[in-house]
């Protein structure tokens, strides 16, 4: 018994366009399904990280580990990027990706009592 031959590709331009659209729609649906199915894993992973943050009292992401002020962005004082001297320029690559935080505290000290 011969295996069923694949149907010939469509000749009409619009049929080919529709076929392409169908493939893209299928890929899009697969991506959507992947996102939906990955949600449970993502929730579990985030929860584990959240528990760790709570337990160890962490404050920052362990992302830019090249310098101490890029490692703990929320804890860094305002002088460390220029640590090598008063006129020294900030030179770590991550410093270019990390913008200044607004509003900035006055000279890094606690706000004055009102």
């Amino acid at each position: 018994m011969k295996a069923a031959a694949l149907p010939p590709p469509p000749h009409r331009g619009s049929s080919q366009a529709l076929l392409l659209l169908a493939w893209l729609a299928l890929a899009g649906a697969a991506a959507l399904m992947h996102a939906l199915l990955g949600r449970a894993d993502g929730v579990a992973r985030r929860q584990a990280a959240q528990e760790l943050v709570q337990t160890l009292q962490l404050t920052d992401l362990a992302w830019f580990t090249e310098a101490r002020y890029t490692r703990h962005l929320s804890q860094a004082d305002l002088h460390t990027p220029f640590q090598d001297g008063p006129a020294a320029l900030e030179h770590f690559p991550a410093g270019a990706l990390v913008g200044p935080v607004r509003p900035m505290q006055d000279a890094g000290f606690a706000p004055a009592a009102r």
């Binding site: 080919q16 160890l56 200044p100």
Partner: protein, 380 residues
Amino acid sequence: MAGWLARQRYLVDFAVAGLRRQRARHASLLLVYTLLVFVLASVVMLASALRREAAFMLKDTPDVVLQGLRMGRHEMSRAADLERLRGLRGTQAAQGRLWGYLFDSASGANYTLQVPPPGSAPALAVGQTVVGEGVARLRRLSAGAPLFLVSPSGIFLNLKVQAVLPAGTALVSSDLVLLSEADFRRFFQLADDEYTDIVLRVRNPSEVAKVAQKAGIALRQHRVITRDDVRRTYEAVFSWREGLLLALLSGAVLAFAILAFDKASGLSAQERRDIGILKAIGWDTGDILRMKLWEATLIAGTACAAGVLLAYVHVFFFSAPLIEPVLKGWSTLYPRFVLTPEVDGLQLTTLALLCVLPYLAAVVVPVWRAAAADPDAAMR
């Protein structure tokens, strides 16, 4: 309705035939268009996924952190500072944190050494440690393996790895080396009453700002950082970085816009002649315009869809390796994180409109002008 659909189908047939006639030109345009959408969509998806992860993971950072300062630089806090805060009304608990940085010359990476708070897991005895996945990866560690560290002052630390923190927490723990308080103080030569900083837990979440203010008054030489400050820091980081990356891509976007506009708006002599022939054989201006719009939609729509799908795979299957060098900088230790895939309909719609509409708009005017012109003049 059936008649209208059949008409559109015939127009698409003609559009596809037209695309096939200049295959190389349209293929190169499609390739560049797809590449541009891919890069833009990757940046947007990555930044958006990271923002979501950070927002979720950092939801439970300490209510208030107080950091000692001298001449604007960090200084250690003392047990006496801690005692002054314990009496503050509204404070449920005040605790000194012990954490610090170590440059490990063996791996060329910066680690964060930290002591887990008393009473919390993991409980570590002297000589024991728990490390993050990045440290384990760099130093090839697993449970039971030894970890040797040397401090800048020459103090040697011999630790045994009890466990490696879960890979799923890498974004917050990749460079962590957890150790006992006794080991930490000995390693960094800290007195018994010294702490890196102080964290406060506030009973009533709506009183955090007030407690932070009172803590700042109680400890004048300390800088006060609330959970909101931490959240704002990362919101600013992601917005800035996403904007910076997109700004860096603006050169490529502009180059593509010029290319696309040039191709779409500057009809070649052959295209003008084709339009003239169509007019001469009875096509009306509206049908010519529809046919050309279908042609442009096929290119722009395919490029947009393919670019976004490739970006999704790039970010959520492979963790964006093409963008990683930009983010990694000089970091030797970079977390291996997996992002939770999410499809943001609004973002995709915005991207699609920004990618497709300008191209369609660039096609309409020159085609209309050519279609409205005298067919005899166009054919010559």
